[in-house]
Symmetry: C2
Subunit: 243 residues, 2 copies
C-alpha cells in the first residue's frame, strides 16, 4: 500500500499542534498566520482550519480583536483535566459493566493485561516501551467496551488535552522514584477494573477507574514540585504557567 498522502489540513494540524506543545511560541502573543503557514509549508486556508480545531481542543484561545494565541494552563487546570478524564473513563467503565462487556473485547482486554504483566515481569528488566504501548491499548479497549460512540469520542477528546492523556506522564516516568512500583500498582488497578466490569459491578468499575486516573495527578504533582531534569519533557508542560 502506497503511503497515504496526507492533506494540507492534516499537515497543518499535526505540525501546529506539535509546535504548540513543544513550546515553540511565545505565550500571551498572537500567532501570525502568514509566518506560521510559511513555516509549515502550507497556505493560510488549511492553517486557519487547523487553528479552529485547536481552539476547539483548547490548545489555542481566540483573541477578541482577532486571531489566536497559545492557551496557558494553571496547575488547577491540569488537575481538573486529569480528574475529568477519570470521570469520563469511569463512565465508560460503568457503562461497560452495566451493559455487559462485549466478550470479544473483554478477551482482548484480558490478553492486553497479560502482556502488561509480561512487560513488568519481576525476573527481568521492565520492558518500558511495551508497557506504554499495551497500556494505551487497554485504555482504548476500556473506552470501546462502553459500547457508546459518544463516550468513545469524548474520552478521545479529553485525552488530547495537554497532560490529560493516560499516557501523558509515561514518557519519562523513569525519572520518578519508585516508578516500577507505580506501574505495578497501576496494573493491579487495571485488573480490578476489568474484574468489576466482568462482574457487572458498575459502581466499583467507575470508582476504580477514577482512582486510576489519579495516578497521573500524583505524577503531575511530583513533576511540578520537584522539576526533575527530563530527558524527554512531557509534551505540553511548556504551557503550564510556572507562576
Amino acid at each position: 500500500m502506497a503511503s497515504e498522502r496526507l492533506s494540507q489540513l492534516d499537515k497543518a494540524l499535526l505540525g501546529l499542534r506539535s509546535l504548540i506543545l513543544s513550546g515553540h511560541f511565545d505565550l500571551n502573543q498572537r500567532l501570525p498566520e502568514v509566518a506560521v503557514a510559511k513555516h509549515l509549508g502550507t497556505s493560510r486556508t488549511p492553517l486557519r482550519q487547523a487553528m479552529d480545531r485547536l481552539v476547539a481542543e483548547g490548545l489555542l484561545e481566540r483573541i477578541e480583536t482577532g486571531g489566536c494565541r497559545v492557551a496557558t494552563f494553571s496547575k488547577e487546570d491540569i488537575a481538573d483535566a486529569i480528574e475529568f478524564r477519570g470521570v469520563v473513563e469511569g463512565t465508560a467503565a460503568r457503562m461497560a459493566a452495566q451493559r455487559g462487556g462485549n466478550p470479544g473485547l473483554m478477551a482482548e482486554a484480558r490478553a492486553t493485561l497479560d502482556r502488561i504483566d509480561q512487560a513488568l515481569d519481576p525476573s527481568q528488566e521492565i520492558d518500558f516501551d511495551r508497557y506504554v504501548h499495551e497500556n494505551a491499548k487497554f485504555h482504548a479497549l476500556l473506552t470501546r467496551l462502553a459500547g457508546s460512540p459518544l463516550i468513545e469520542r469524548e474520552v478521545a477528546r479529553m485525552s488530547r488535552l495537554p497532560l490529560a492523556s493516560p499516557s501523558a506522564f509515561l514518557s519519562d516516568q523513569a525519572m520518578i522514584p519508585n516508578f516500577q512500583d507505580s506501574l505495578r500498582f497501576a496494573q493491579r488497578q487495571h485488573r480490578a477494573i476489568l474484574e468489576a466490569i466482568a462482574e457487572r459491578d458498575g459502581a466499583r468499575a467507575e470508582a476504580m477507574t477514577r482512582e486510576h486516573a489519579r495516578l497521573a495527578l500524583t505524577n503531575f504533582n511530583y513533576i511540578t514540585t520537584h522539576q526533575p531534569k527530563l530527558a524527554n519533557p512531557v509534551p505540553g508542560l511548556a504551557l503550564v504557567a510556572s507562576e
Copy 2:
C-alpha cells in the same frame, strides 16, 4: 449601543445549525457547499468554517470522499448524551461541594430557585416562560459553581448536542402528562442539589444531579413512544432515526 453586527461565520454557524436541527436537509446525503452558502447569504469560506465546527459538535459527520452530511442519532445515542450530560453536570456539582461554592454565586442560585418557586406558584397558573428561563440560569450557575473553566466548557459542549440540553424538552412539555408535577419534582431536585453543595456533600450533589438529568430521559422516552403532536417540535428530533 448599536446592534452588534455578527460576522459571516456567526451568520453561517447559526443559520446552518438551525437548518440542520429543523430537519431541512435530507439525511444520508451530502450538503452541497455552494447551494447552502448561497442560501445563507455568505461565501464558502465562512460556511466551511461553520461546517468544521458542527462536525466537532457532532451535528455533521465527514464523508470519506469529501464533504459532510447530517449526522443521525439512534435512540441510544440520545440516551447516552443525556446520561453523559448528567455525569458532567454531576461532576460540576461535586466539585462545587468539595471546593465550597462561591458565596455570591450560591446566593444567586438560591434567588433563582426562589423565582422558579414563584413561577410554579400553585395558587396561579404556571409561568412557563419564566420557568424555562430561570431553569436555564440555574443550570448555568451550577456549572460556574464548580470553579473550573474546563468543566464549564464541557457542560456547555454537551448541552449543545441535540436533545441533551437541560432545556431540550421544555419547549413543549405542556404536551406531556402531569408536566406540572414533573416541573415541581424537578424543582425539589434543584433544592436538594443546592443543599448538598452548601453542606459540602459532594457525593449527594453528584448523585442528585445525575438523577435530575434522567428527567430528560423520561421525557425523551415519552416523546419517542407516544409521538404526540407537538406544537413546537423539539429541535433536533428530526435527526433521530425513527427506525
